[in-house]
Assembly symmetry: C2
Homo-oligomer: 221 residues x 2
């Protein structure tokens, strides 16, 4: 895995297991992080995580559960199938996040991490609470539906990402990203770029992943 450069994460948000596995097989070796997406987890369950772990034993596997409750159980269920990281929604309570963190670290040890997914309204005071309990990864998310409704990345978004980085978060960004939009983030210490369809629905997904990596290297290298 490249050091110091932002990572590239592919999100598998397909509605069937065969489609998700097919997409993973095309780009799995060329990305740093492979995400079992929420849509697919809700359709096929954590078997997806187990297959990804078996296929890519050395990659970071994320279970994008957007967990809102029962953090210990959900983290346990995904960690035993091989997830290194799991997401909690920002509106989850602190006890839920703590339970998830404890559970994933019990099984994956130092490799286990919780990422907070930022949707809707949240505050920097909440963000500080997440840091205080040992969660230092956040995902800044342009909602797919918001993007479809015509909203896009703006200065306000980029300022929020910067502020979170300054607070001490490793911040991944996602939502409508493609090779052309990466340069919007120039000068910001992004932790990982997460792309779904921008990679998996490209005419040549592997080539698309390689172009993402090249552009990341060009800008941040």
């Amino acid at each position: 895995m490249t050091k110091n450069l932002p990572y590239l994460q592919v999100a598998l948000d397909h509605s069937t297991l065969p489609e998700a596995i097919k997409a993973a097989s095309l780009v799995g070796h060329d990305v740093d992080i492979i995400e079992a997406g929420t849509v697919c987890l809700l359709q096929v369950g954590s078997e997806l995580v187990e297959i990804l772990r078996k296929l890519y034993p050395n990659k970071i596997i994320v279970a994008d559960t957007k967990c809102a409750d029962a953090g210990g159980t959900v983290a346990h269920n995904n960690a035993i199938r091989g997830a290194d990281w799991m997401t909690c929604i920002c509106s989850a309570t602190i006890p839920t996040m703590q339970a998830a963190l404890k559970s994933i670290k019990n099984i994956r040890e130092d490799r286990g991490e919780i990422q907070v997914e930022l949707y809707g309204d949240w505050t920097y005071e909440q963000a500080q609470q997440w840091l205080d309990i040992g969660i230092s990864q956040a995902i800044y998310h342009q909602s797919r539906d918001a993007l479809l409704a015509g909203e896009s990345w703006g200065t306000k978004d980029l300022e929020r990402v910067k502020k979170l980085v300054e607070m001490g978060f490793r911040v991944s960004v996602t939502g409508g990203l493609n090779v052309e939009t990466l340069k919007l983030f120039e000068g910001i210490d992004v932790f990982a770029f997460i792309a779904g369809r921008g990679i998996t629905e490209a005419e040549n997904p592997r080539q698309s992943a390689i172009e993402f990596k090249q552009e990341i290297k060009r800008i941040w290298g």
Copy 2:
């Protein structure tokens, strides 16, 4: 289904399909609403919804996806397997909720509804926006993890439930409920009581469901 009385909803939050189906089979005929719980959906996918629909063709089936994004896709995936209602997390954007509502109504027609799950911070201004787009069900939730951390139902919670009812919501309540705690809600026009382990882990789950119904009738009948 009893009219005017609060409904009884059982939440199937097991980590395996056999456990969830076993629990459903014990109480499915005695409750009004059967919920495919988030923990189980994330473990086994929407096949759970399809099995519940086949087993209980006349009951309301809820897919508790706590959907935060891709509302149209997630609602479609669950509605085609038989879900009448689906939950969105309160931090989902309005476009996500709108997409989910449109999608579930496309398939389930008037029977299709979206419920907003209230976790963490939310505001009455947001709640009004949900009403404005045609979502009139909310779920007031005591987090399982918060309950485990010692928090419980208090006056503040009950006042919020009342206020939401006054705004025009049908409000379901959930979190650590058992037959004894129902009386806390006396005088409040609760739409449905949602119980998980309070019913499914009882020594006699069917008897427990019947006792819930009796207590509801005693208080609200």
